[in-house]
C-alpha cells in the first residue's frame, strides 16, 4: 500500500476544505469557460468545461472524443501484422512503445519467442521512444508556465533521438518496425555509436532543464503543492506511470513483471517522489529520462548477436485464446487484451491507454483550483490526445 506523507495529508485536507467552501457558493452565478478544444494548453483537441467563481474552478468536466478513431473496431478487420500500423498512432510521440505490448500479446498467444537480439533491440527502441516523448514534456511544461525557451532546447535535442529512430526503423513517429517473432530488419551500421553520443546530449539537456526550470524559484512556486494526488486516490482512478510514481507508489512494470524484453539485464533504478504534486511529476520524469539514457547505453553495450526474427509462418494465424500484456509506456501503463479465435486477425482487442485514466481524475482534481493552476495540472499530468481518444 502506498504511504501518505504528512505533506500529502495536509494538502489533501486543504483541498477538501476548499471543496467545502466552494460547495456553499455553488448556487451563485458563475462563469462557464470552455478550455479547448482549440487551445494551446490542451495538447490537442481536448475540451474542458469549467465553471468559475472569479478565478476559482467550481466544477470541471473534460469532454474527449474529438479524435476518436475507433481503433478497437478497426483491429477486428485487420490481420495481426496490419494492426501495428494502427497502434503506432495511439501515442504518437512514443513511437515504438505502442507496438510492443500488442506484438508481445500475439507472441504470447502463438507461444513464439523472439530471439534475444530482437528483444534487446526492442527494449532499446522502447526506451528511445520514451526519450522522444518525455523530453518534449520537459520543455513543454515550461511553455505552459510561461518559460518560452526550454521547449526550443527540447525540440533541438529530441531531433537526435528521432533521427536515430528513423535511421533504424524508417519512421520518426510511426516506425512500424515490430513484427511477430522479432523485428523487421537489423540495425544499420554505425547506429550503436551514434546512439551513445545522442545519449550524452540528452543528459546535457536534462542538466539544462534542471538549471532552467527545476532550480527556478518561480517554477517551484507555480508547481509545488499544486494538483496534489494522494496515492490511494490516484490508484483508484487508474493513474499509472510517472504520475503515480510521483505520488510515492513504487511500481514500475518494467521491473516488476517478467517480460521477455531486456530490462532485467540492465542495472537501473525506479524513481519515486513522495509529494504527488506537479513538481513531483516533473521531477520524476526528469530522472526517468536520465535513467532511460543509461538503460539504452547498457543495452547497446551488451547487445547479443544472432537472428533478428524467429521462424514464423508466412501467413500468421494466431491460435485461439486471450492474452493480456502491459508495459510501462512513456505516458503510463499501456496494455492490450487480445482475444483471438484462431483467425488472421484479432477477434477483439481492448486497448488500455494510460491517458484515458490519467484524465479521468480531472473532475476531482480541478475543483477549487485557480485557472492558471488548471494549465499547470494539465501540463503535469501529460497526456496525448491519441492516447485518450484511441
Amino acid at each position: 500500500m502506498a504511504v501518505v506523507t504528512e505533506f500529502q495529508k495536509a494538502a489533501y485536507v486543504a483541498g477538501q476544505a476548499a471543496d467545502a467552501r466552494v460547495n456553499v457558493e455553488i448556487e451563485a452565478e458563475g462563469m462557464t469557460l470552455n478550455i479547448g478544444p482549440q487551445h494551446p494548453a490542451t495538447h490537442g483537441t481536448l475540451r474542458i468545461v469549467v465553471r468559475l467563481d472569479g478565478e476559482q474552478v467550481v466544477w470541471a468536466e473534460p469532454v474527449c472524443g474529438y479524435m476518436h478513431r475507433g481503433y478497437e473496431k478497426l483491429t477486428e478487420v485487420r490481420t495481426y501484422p496490419q494492426v501495428t500500423t494502427l497502434v503506432n498512432r495511439i501515442d504518437w510521440l512514443g513511437s515504438f512503445a505502442n507496438e510492443v505490448p500488442f506484438i508481445l500479446a500475439a507472441e504470447k498467444l502463438m507461444d513464439v519467442e523472439a530471439p534475444p537480439r530482437a528483444q534487446w533491440i526492442r527494449t532499446a527502441l522502447f526506451e528511445l521512444g520514451r526519450l522522444a516523448n518525455i523530453t518534449l514534456f520537459l520543455g513543454d511544461m515550461g511553455v505552459q508556465l510561461g518559460a518560452l525557451t526550454p521547449v526550443f532546447y527540447a525540440f533541438r535535442d529530441r531531433e537526435h533521438v528521432l533521427n536515430l529512430i528513423e535511421a533504424a526503423t524508417g519512421g520518426r513517429f510511426h516506425p512500424n518496425y515490430d513484427r511477430i517473432g522479432g523485428l523487421k530488419e537489423d540495425l544499420p551500421k554505425g547506429w550503436v555509436t551514434e546512439v551513445k553520443s545522442a545519449m550524452s546530449r540528452i543528459r546535457t539537456f536534462c542538466d539544462e532543464m534542471e538549471d532552467l526550470l527545476v532550480g527556478n524559484e518561480i517554477f517551484e512556486t507555480r508547481t509545488r503543492g499544486i494538483g496534489l494526488v494522494p496515492a490511494a486516490v490516484g490508484l483508484e482512478y487508474g493513474l499509472s506511470g510517472a504520475n503515480i510514481r510521483a505520488s510515492g507508489v513504487d511500481w514500475d512494470i518494467r521491473r516488476d513483471e517478467d517480460s521477455p524484453l531486456a530490462w532485467k539485464h540492465c542495472d537501473w533504478k525506479v524513481w519515486t517522489h513522495p509529494d504527488g504534486d506537479c513538481f513531483a511529476r516533473y521531477w520524476v520524469r526528469l530522472q526517468e529520462v536520465r535513467e532511460a539514457t543509461k538503460i539504452v547505453e547498457q543495452l547497446l553495450d551488451g547487445l547479443p548477436s544472432g537472428p533478428i526474427q524467429a521462424k514464423v509462418p508466412r501467413i500468421i494465424k494466431v491460435p485461439a485464446g486471450e492474452a493480456w500484456v502491459h508495459t510501462d509506456n512513456p505516458l503510463g501503463e499501456m496494455g492490450y487484451y487480445v482475444v483471438s479465435k484462431g483467425g488472421l486477425g484479432p477477434f477483439r482487442t481492448k486497448i488500455r491507454t494510460p491517458s484515458f485514466s490519467n484524465i479521468s481524475i480531472l473532475p476531482w482534481l480541478l475543483r477549487g483550483v485557480y485557472v492558471p493552476d488548471v494549465i499547470t495540472i494539465l501540463a503535469s499530468l501529460y497526456f496525448i490526445l491519441g492516447d485518450i481518444d484511441r
Binding site: M31, G146, A147, T221, R222, P372
Partner: protein
C-alpha cells in the same frame, strides 16, 4: 537650438513633436527587431526571420504593412466606441512619456521640474486603456486578462515609484535633466572623473525599477494578463489589424521609454565623461541609445527565461517583498543623505 538660429515657439514645438513621433516607432522597431526577433531566437538556438531584408531587418516593416491592410473587425457585441478608443489611450500614455526624456543638455521636449513625477504618473494611464480593451471586447478571456492586468499594473506602480524616490533624494531634484547633471557632477568614492552613475549607490533601487518596469510592461515573469498559453493574448485577443499594431507599438514604445528613463536615472542618461556643450548635444542621443539597449537587454533576457507568476503570487511579491524593500531603500538613502 544654437544661439544663431532663433525659432519661434510653435516652430520648435512642431519639430519636437515630429521628432518624438518618429522616435517612437523607430525605437519600438529597433527594440522589437534586436531583442524580440534576434536575441530571443539566438537564445533559443534558432535564427529568427532571415528573409525580409538582410538578416530580416525589414521583417517588422513587412509586419506593419500586413497589419495596416487588414480588415477592421469588431466583435458583434463589442462596445464600438470604447473598443476603438482603448488602443489609442495606451498609445497616448506611451507618447506622453517622451515629453520629459532628455537626449542631450538641450535636447528635451520639455524640461519639467517634476519630470520623474510626471513620467510615472503618465505611465499609469495605460491601465485605463487595458481595462477599456478587456471590457469592451465582450469576451470572457479578455475580461479575465483585463482584470488581472488592472490589479497587476496598479500593484507594481508602487515598487516602481518607491525605487525611484531614492534617486530623487540623492539627486535633490525631480527634473530628469537635473538628475543627469547630478550624476555628471557627482563623485564616486572621491573620484570626480566618471561622475556618479546612480546604479552603484542605488543598486537596490535599480533592481526595483527593472522589476517594476517588467511588470508595467506585462512582460514575463509578470505576463499573467497576456498569458499566452492560457488566455492567448488576454485583453488584446479581439484586436486585429492596425488596432493591434497600436497595442504592439505602445508596448514596445513604452519599453523603449522605460529603458530610457532607467538609463537616465541610473546610468547617467546622455552623459559621457569628457564630452560637454554642443558635442554632448550631438553625441548625447547615441550615448543614451547605447544605454537604452543595455537596460533593455536585461528586461528582455528575463522575459525569455523565466516562467510566469500566478496572479496571487505576483501580488504577494509586490506587496510583501518589493514594497518593504523599497521603503528600506528610501530610509537608508535618506539617512545617508542627511548624515554623509
Amino acid at each position: 537650438m544654437t544661439a544663431a538660429l532663433h525659432l519661434a515657439y510653435w516652430q520648435t514645438t512642431t519639430i519636437k513633436v515630429l521628432v518624438v513621433m518618429g522616435v517612437i516607432p523607430l525605437g519600438a522597431l529597433v527594440l522589437a527587431y534586436v531583442f524580440l526577433l534576434k536575441m530571443m531566437s539566438h537564445m533559443q538556438s534558432r535564427l529568427g526571420p532571415m528573409e525580409a531584408g538582410p538578416h530580416g531587418v525589414l521583417q517588422l516593416l513587412a509586419d506593419a504593412g500586413k497589419f495596416l491592410q487588414k480588415e477592421d473587425v469588431f466583435p458583434e457585441r463589442a462596445d464600438r466606441a470604447v473598443f476603438a478608443l482603448a488602443p489609442v489611450v495606451v498609445l497616448m500614455s506611451a507618447f506622453l512619456l517622451y515629453v520629459v526624456i532628455p537626449a542631450g543638455p538641450r535636447l528635451t521636449v520639455s524640461n519639467l521640474d517634476t519630470g520623474v513625477f510626471f513620467a510615472l504618473a503618465v505611465s499609469s494611464l495605460s491601465v485605463l486603456g487595458v481595462l477599456m480593451a478587456g471590457w469592451s471586447s465582450a469576451n470572457k478571456y479578455s475580461l479575465i486578462g483585463a482584470l488581472r492586468a488592472a490589479g497587476q499594473l496598479i500593484a507594481y506602480e508602487l515598487p516602481l515609484v518607491l525605487g525611484v524616490v531614492g534617486v530623487v533624494i540623492q539627486a535633490g531634484t525631480m527634473s530628469l535633466q537635473g538628475i543627469v547633471q547630478a550624476q555628471a557632477h557627482g563623485a564616486l568614492l572621491g573620484f570626480k572623473t566618471l561622475g556618479e552613475p546612480y546604479i552603484l549607490p542605488q543598486a537596490l533601487g535599480f533592481v526595483l525599477f527593472i522589476v517594476g518596469a517588467q511588470a508595467e510592461l506585462t512582460q514575463t515573469p509578470f505576463d499573467m494578463p497576456l498569458a499566452e498559453t492560457e488566455l492567448v493574448a488576454g485583453y488584446m485577443v479581439e484586436y486585429t489589424g492596425f488596432r493591434f499594431l497600436f497595442f504592439f507599438m505602445a508596448e514596445f514604445g513604452t519599453a523603449f521609454a522605460f529603458a530610457a528613463i532607467g538609463a537616465t536615472l541610473f546610468l547617467g542618461g546622455w552623459y559621457v565623461p569628457g564630452v560637454h556643450g554642443t558635442a554632448a548635444d550631438v553625441l548625447g542621443p547615441f550615448v543614451l541609445g547605447a544605454k537604452i539597449m543595455l537596460v533593455s537587454f536585461f528586461i528582455f533576457w528575463f522575459r525569455f527565461t523565466y516562467p510566469r507568476f500566478r496572479e496571487d503570487q505576483l501580488q504577494a511579491v509586490a506587496w510583501k517583498y518589493l514594497i518593504p524593500l523599497a521603503l528600506v531603500n528610501i530610509l537608508v538613502t535618506g539617512l545617508l543623505k542627511v548624515v554623509v
